[in-house]
């Protein structure tokens, strides 16, 4: 038994609610295998009624037909409005009044049918098969079978779009994160089990919390590699929610996992050990909980001459092969730079006082004048000096329109 929906709206979604074998016959026509549904709904009329009811709920406007074969169901859905149920053996009788044009014959065949005076299915069905084969060929025979409701074929099923979503509506609002963790653990385990059953993993977890004040708190957790480590998921969500807590008690929890193929990589015998990606993500999340977000990551130098210009990226992205190390003099920066009082002698700094850094300048190099971004709203301009103080240390000093600053110490 097959059912066909012909109309507009989410036809495929409606069909998937009744059967896993769904064919998208045309943009406005969906056919599905309804065999076995009688055990759930009863007679074919009951199935059709359930379909019509569900279509109404989903906002689908479609003609519904149930027939012993898919093509008869398609013809009936396209030809009759409302709900049609074709009993087994009565296909030809049921389809008889439909116009032949419904079968979409080729223009030549349509012209022939017009000349012969064949207007309806019953006219075509009454023609002898041998004569049709001689005069109209295979296409004519196929159309005659369709008109008699005898054509049998298999559906070309659509792949069921994989959705890994679940929700739990709570009996009472949950305010604390600890009891919420139990709910999260349940959802994570259920979704991870269904992913594992299909040999899939996830690289993104979307959490949606409906709050008591009707607001929605959404969090998205992106993982560096696809995995199914439920303990890590729970810990990451816990850390994330402790940093970004919902503004009101939670009344409903929805969770979705993005299904992806699990990472398959064989470790080399001579490949150096590196932090395990999921474990590293967990460590970084814990570090962020301690030192604050935006303060953990890999530094990336910006393409500018502006001093101390960098940005933090969340994860390692080893790109180029490592270059040869060079032994260079390094600087330790003071962030923010320490405001200094500088005494000048003959236009050159001679004494510096910046908190604990205080001393007579014994040797100096500079000034090195640098500037940039003058075409933007945030320009910079400074004169830099390298100074050796009487305390024995070497510092980088600079003067900009705001005053004198000690930027760091050479070390």
């Amino acid at each position: 038994m097959f059912a066909c929906l012909h109309g507009s709206g989410p036809l495929t979604a409606l069909a998937f609610q009744f059967s896993p074998t769904v064919e998208q016959t045309a943009p406005d026509t969906v056919t599905f295998d309804a065999s076995g549904l009688e055990r759930l709904f009863g007679f074919a009329q009951d199935i059709a009624a359930s379909l019509a009811r569900r279509a109404g709920e989903l906002g689908v406007e479609a003609a519904i037909a149930i027939a012993p074969n898919p093509d008869a169901a398609i013809c009936a859905a396209r030809g009759f409005s409302g709900t049609s149920v074709i009993p087994y053996g009565d296909e030809a009788k049921f389809l008889a009044p439909l116009p032949v044009a419904l079968l979409s014959p080729s223009p030549e065949l349509q012209e022939t049918f017009d000349r012969w005076g064949i207007r309806r299915f019953q006219d075509l069905a009454a023609l002898p098969p041998l004569g049709i084969a001689e005069r109209l060929g295979l296409e004519g025979l196929r159309l005659r079978e369709l008109a008699r409701g005898e054509a049998g074929r298999k559906l070309l099923p659509l792949a069921d779009p994989l959705r890994f979503e679940d929700r739990i509506e709570l009996d009472y609002p949950v305010e604390l994160l600890e009891p919420l963790a139990f709910v999260l653990a349940r959802l994570i385990n259920a979704l991870a089990t269904s992913l594992a059953a299909r040999a899939l993993a996830t690289d993104e977890i979307r959490l949606q919390l409906k709050l008591e004040n009707r607001a929605t708190h959404e969090r998205v957790l992106r993982l560096p590699v696809p995995t199914l480590d439920t303990k890590a998921f729970l810990k990451l969500l816990d850390l994330d929610l402790s940093q970004n807590p919902p503004s009101a008690p939670v009344v409903e929890v929805r969770m979705a996992m993005n299904p992806v193929k699990p990472q398959s990589a064989q470790s080399g015998l001579f490949v150096l050990a590196a932090p395990e990606p999921v474990k590293l993500e967990l460590t970084v999340a814990r570090l962020k909980a301690i030192v604050g977000p935006g303060r953990v990551g890999t530094p990336v130098l910006l393409d500018t001459h502006r001093p101390d210009a960098f940005r933090m990226t969340p994860a390692f992205v080893p790109s180029a092969p490592p270059s040869a190390p060079k032994f260079r003099l390094s600087i330790r920066l003071f962030r923010p730079p320490r405001a200094a009082q500088v005494a000048l002698a003959s236009g050159y700094p001679s004494f510096v006082a910046a908190g604990a850094i205080r001393g007579k300048i014994l040797d100096l190099a500079g000034p090195w004048r640098t500037s940039g971004d003058w075409w933007t709203a945030d320009p910079w301009l400074r004169d830099e000096w390298d100074v050796a103080l009487s305390d024995g240390a070497l510092y980088r000093l600079y003067c900009d329109p705001r005053g004198w600053f000690v930027e760091g110490s050479y070390d």
Binding site: L282, G292, V296, P299, V317, F327, R328, Y410
Partner: protein, 224 residues
């Protein structure tokens, strides 16, 4: 039967004296300064190495050289920066592959820095983990209890990680397997004063204290 008798019996059975107590020497990695490596044998894995000295004594140049060597070996490194003093531009110039470096900026909080270092060691997989207390006031650094250092030493034991602490003075005491006390030697300038003067390099002398073995090679960190 007493343990000593059992040991004697077992040794006679195996045909010779067995060294039961000593542990195998740890694998050492180079610091990037040949003189220092020749003197100390390198930095031991699974141990705490302490680099300390005053400002401008070459601690950071030595540290960046160690990180550059480690990233050159394609190891992933981490630096816990207690005073937010790490300069990525200097590190890149020293040859540190920044995309193999995790930088944790703990914003003037030594306690957070200790926790972060502990987490990184527990996480595992890092070639070098650095706890940089280089600009932390000595009084604050001294308040870190010896128990915390023991905890770090225990955490890094039996791992391939080199744990390095940088500070103004020695804090870890007996927890450190290798101590490198850096001292300023002199700064090298070129050109005439007030015209073409340039800071060329600083020379520093790290004194290694490794059990009873002491050595003090000199290295020079060039500015250009």
């Amino acid at each position: 039967m007493p343990a000593a008798a059992l040991k004697t019996q077992f040794e006679s059975l195996l045909g010779g004296h067995l060294d039961w107590q000593s542990r195998p020497a740890p694998e050492c990695v180079p610091s990037g300064i040949p003189a220092l490596d020749a003197a100390t044998g390198g930095l031991p894995r699974g141990c705490l190495t302490e680099i300390f000295g005053p400002a401008s004594s070459g601690r950071t140049s030595l540290l960046l050289s160690i990180l550059a060597q480690a990233t050159h070996r394609e190891e992933v490194c981490a630096i816990v920066d207690a005073e937010d003093a790490f300069d990525p531009a200097s590190a890149a110039a020293a040859g540190v592959e920044l995309d193999r470096l995790l930088w944790v900026r703990s914003a003037q909080n030594a306690e957070h820095a200790l926790k972060a270092a502990d987490l990184l060691i527990q996480g595992g997989g890092f070639g070098v983990v650095v706890l940089d207390l280089g600009d932390t006031p000595p009084a604050t650094a001294r308040r870190i209890s010896l128990t915390s250092w023991f905890r770090l030493r225990r955490a890094v034991e039996n791992t391939p990680t080199v744990l390095i602490s940088v500070a103004r003075q020695s804090n870890a005491k007996t927890c450190a397997s290798l101590e490198l006390a850096c001292a300023r030697e002199h700064a090298a300038w070129s050109g005439a004063l007030h015209s073409s003067r340039l800071l060329r390099a600083i020379s520093a002398r790290p004194t290694s204290i490794q059990r009873s073995k002491t050595c003090s090679p000199v290295f020079t960190a060039a500015a250009l």
